[in-house]
Symmetry: C2
Subunit: 151 residues, 2 copies
């Protein structure tokens, strides 16, 4: 567990995660940043939108690509509160995200440091720099509180 | 290479792949079927839509989930002309697709029988039945013709 001031984009991702929880969605939030500016953001919304692909990262990437009118988010960073799953890690590859920052680790559903380890195969077309742990306590607490309330 | 009559949903996926190629997109098409009826279809469109997540499978799954108003596509089958990548395999897991039929194998970008092998990890929440090879010659020929013309 890292104790460190939370960078603004991760603070925004945590706020998005909180707003997801308020709507009954698993609390995960994400933002895409280019040159210090947020160009896309998203929160988990599969239940409300009836869209199994509506994870925070996919929403943030789609929004950012739409903002700049380019399917490639070269030179962009993605901040997300939870370790991406295989679907989202794949989306990060396709978008050519330069740096991935995630807060909480996800041994069950994560596919960066666990399971499918999407970036770690020779076939992987693009591997972002990966950083993790900052905001972990806050992100994990949001998830714990959410699931405890649902039990 | 399998020689076998092409089932209707795969024939439709191949037609969608052809229409993608006509718009300058990598020719891949997909349909979701429930009880013999197509409830969602999609074709590759990341260039035209500036959306790196706009793969045929994601589009078909989103359309099908919207059609039935449920993020879970239990009892639904997905037909796609190319082996799904990690992103699309992850989307198939989240959607709880019952059976996956793909035509051409993709040793470079595929993540079902290659690379990340998304369904083959103990963490994988849902594993569809997987069938492959029918329509392979047609799907591979579309891709070859497309990339040859671009060189």
């Amino acid at each position: 567990m890292t104790r460190w001031p939370i960078p603004d984009p991760m603070a925004r991702a945590l706020a998005l995660a909180r707003s997801a929880a308020a709507e009954g969605e698993v609390p995960v939030g994400a933002v895409v940043v280019r040159a210090g500016e947020v160009i896309g953001e998203g929160r988990n919304a599969p239940r409300g939108t009836h869209d199994p692909t509506a994870h925070a990262e996919v929403a943030a990437i789609r929004a950012a690509a739409s903002t700049i009118g380019d399917e490639r988010l070269t030179d962009c960073d993605l901040y997300v509160t939870l370790e991406p799953c295989a679907m989202c890690a794949g989306a990060i590859v396709h978008a050519r995200i330069a740096r991935l920052y995630y807060a909480a680790s996800d041994p069950k559903g994560g596919a960066v440091a666990h399971g499918a380890r999407v970036f770690d195969h020779p076939q992987c077309l693009h591997r972002p720099e990966v950083y993790s742990g900052i905001g972990e306590a806050e992100a994990a607490d949001l998830l714990r509180t959410f699931f405890r309330a649902r039990r």
